[in-house]
């Protein structure tokens, strides 16, 4: 095999072809800039939002606090026992993506996907430093020169800088942002933080700088199963073949009779960030960014033909040459997605707003099941966990129902006031408890532990058992 994998004219391995997207201006480009500013603004800004939760609790609006196993999201606070909320939110997000895809096609890919947003940003940097399409192509072909070195060098430095900011913003979601910022500027950060910054800098640089559209084409699973979610009523970017063909060069003043409106200017191809020709029909690579629409519309304006030779429309409309109607949004598919989203959303919101602030878990000792005391009473051991999810220290009074107890005692603290159990703010109180009762007739009795929160009077119950075995 020769060096370039070329064997007698057959290519076994294709070398990546560079794509030099050209600058374009128009409705969709504007939308893309807007989306980029908003999304990056959210990404970089959110960790700095504050949210007052009272003393001893982080006041960062969005914080995933790994060491203390808590996640804060504005008014929502999630404990490790409640990760199912996360599952629900992930399912919700997935459904949302399906819904939006059924409704608007690949808008996620074209406008909101991080890969798209950062790639767009990187191409913008490239263009600012090295110039537009032709200049970049010329620069790449030119031999090494001072100009080439500083232009390339500056581009890559700016890319790395953006990468550092990307990784840098990420770690703020897992630490108190102002405090961590202090540490970062003093180069005093733990290993975990610096390795995250390095990893995300590298991945941003490689993914947005080099991999670009290949991520969408080869790596992204979403691109692959898009077609399963598409039908003829899904919005796509399409070239109106009926109107455009046969294409050909056109001189000003020539008649448009007997020919199509496409003047084969290649603008739609040159601006495409994934390097395809949309006139070949809808392709898997197309991320529906709409830039070719902008490019072609500009051309149509110039040659004074109506816009929309390439347009954002449904396949069926483009085929029939009709214009987009509202009716296609209302389909069984979109209806069911909307219905599912509403139901799931209602569940999540209900769960989050009706979240209990105290939980009680009781585990009965298994070994030994019971102990006969010298006075003939039976003792059972229990492990109690009281989850105090409020941000204040609380005291819970304990009572037992279903059995006549002769004594309640904390293990290792025989003299403690057993009925009032303090639990610190935002933490779990562990108690080992001994319950004494006279020997029962039944081997096993069902009993209930009840804790009453003394301040708000919240009552929480937990059923458990009392074993009264045979004495020896």
């Amino acid at each position: 095999m020769s060096d370039d994998g070329n064997n007698g004219g057959i290519t076994y391995f294709e070398k990546q072809q560079n794509i030099y997207p050209q600058r374009v201006w128009g409705r969709y480009r504007k939308l893309k800039w807007l989306a980029m500013v908003v999304l990056l603004g959210i990404y970089y800004g959110v960790p700095w939002l504050r949210w007052d939760r009272g003393p001893h609790v982080p006041d960062q609006a969005v914080l995933i606090d790994m060491p203390s196993r808590r996640a804060y999201f504005f008014f929502i606070e999630i404990w490790p026992q409640e990760v199912y909320y996360l599952t629900a939110i992930l399912i919700f997000a997935a459904l949302m993506l399906f819904f939006v895809t059924a409704l608007l096609g690949r808008v996620w890919c074209g406008y909101a996907c991080p890969q798209t947003v950062w790639t767009d940003l990187f191409i913008w940097v490239e263009r600012i430093v090295q110039g537009d399409r032709n200049a970049r192509m010329k620069l790449d072909k030119s031999p090494l020169s001072f100009e080439k070195i500083w232009k390339k060098g500056l581009t890559h430095s700016l890319w790395i800088l953006i990468g550092v900011c990307t990784g840098g913003a990420w770690v703020f979601y897992f630490n108190d942002a102002p405090t961590l910022w202090e540490h970062i500027i003093h180069f005093d950060v733990p290993w975990s933080v610096s390795s995250w910054i390095v990893a995300l800098t590298a991945s941003t640089y490689v993914m947005a700088g080099y991999a670009r559209e290949q991520v969408c084409t080869f790596m992204c699973p979403y691109a692959r199963f898009q077609s399963a979610m598409f039908d003829e009523d899904t919005l796509i970017i399409g070239y109106d073949e009926k109107r455009g063909e046969p294409r050909g060069k056109h001189k000003k003043g020539d008649s448009w009779d007997g020919r199509g409106h496409c003047i084969d200017c290649m603008q739609c191809v040159n601006v495409c960030p994934v390097g395809i020709d949309i006139r070949d029909g809808l392709q898997m690579e197309c991320i529906a960014c709409g830039l070719c629409v902008d490019a072609c519309n500009n051309i149509m304006d110039k040659i004074e033909l109506p816009r929309g030779l390439i347009r954002y429309d449904t396949a069926s409309h483009i085929e029939k040459g009709t214009q987009l109607k509202l009716a296609h949004f209302f389909r069984p598919r979109t209806f069911w997605y909307a219905a599912l989203l509403t139901v799931l959303g209602a569940f999540v919101i209900f769960g989050l707003t009706h979240r209990s602030v105290v939980e009680l878990h009781v585990a009965h000792d298994r070994n030994p099941l019971y102990v006969m005391m010298s006075d003939g009473d039976i003792r059972n051991g229990y492990t109690l966990k009281i989850l105090n999810k409020t941000h204040q220290d609380r005291v819970y009074s304990l009572s037992v129902e279903g059995i006549e107890t002769t004594k309640l005692m904390l293990q290792n603290a025989p003299d403690a006031a057993i009925e009032t159990l303090p639990v610190f703010a935002d933490s779990v109180g562990h108690y080992r408890l001994f319950l004494f009762a006279e020997k029962q007739k039944a081997f096993r009795s069902n009993i209930t532990f009840i804790i009453t929160e003394q301040q708000d009077g919240i009552v929480t119950e937990q059923e458990t058992i009392f074993i009264s075995g045979e004495g020896r």
């Binding site: 004219g9 290519t11 029909g281 102990v371 290792n412």
Partner: protein, 297 residues
Amino acid sequence: MAVKNKKKPSQGKAGREIDKISGIETTGHEWDGLKELNNPLPRWWLWVFILTCVWAVGYWVVYPAWPTISGHTKGKYGWTQHKQLAAGQEEIREIQAAFLAMLRRTPLTDVKKDPELYAFALTGGAVAFKNHCAACHGTGADGMAHYPNLNDDDWLWGGSVDEIYRTIKYGIRSSHDETHISAMSSFGTDGILTRPEILAVTDHVRSLSGLGEDNARGAVIFQEQCSSCHGLDGKGDRAIGAPNLTDAVWLYGSSRDAVSSVIFSARNSVMPHWHGVISDDKIRQLALYVHSLGGGE
């Protein structure tokens, strides 16, 4: 959604057919009329594959990898899981050493005041208990017939943490010089009491804790023969490990047969001493653990 090839297709090699629609050479394979396009793989794909091969070779060099007739290749740096384990254990031992030193300095009765140290002692004690004590006393320390339940509040030789420590260290009727020693007479085998007398005492002893009918003759014999150790009221004497006969806990069982057989031939069970067998650190942890089970005084 066909993937287009941007390069002009080369002429079909070996006479292979060129697909009309895409202009790409086919592989020449056909399945029910479907033909496979011979699209090239991306180059980076090839590089990733080569990289994984290089990685694999590096792996073979660095780590133990290949079986040989007399074992296996050892790897460049001699890494083994055993060494990794040993290093991990060494690390744990260092952390434990600091706690153990603190535990040695602290009187047993004061350990509870330092919750962290106490938790350390109990955890170590629980492990040591399963290793050394569970065979007789059970994994839950609830004993069995002839082996005391350590969860209850009935103690033959005392239930304070220091007394428990002493018992574990020197044992009971063990071979150690400092051991707890006492012996109950075997009233039947030594011919001190007759069978009817023993049954009478049995009834009296059981009645002390509310079992069965009292026996006047048995009460008299008890005063003469048993009260010197078990006390006039039958409450026992911890100084000599004489059990309290008025409570609900019976080491050898509470049935008439069980009690009379103890009086007939005595039991005098033995607990081995742990001094010199396991470290004093472990004995201290064990004492704290046993004391914490619920009956500690």
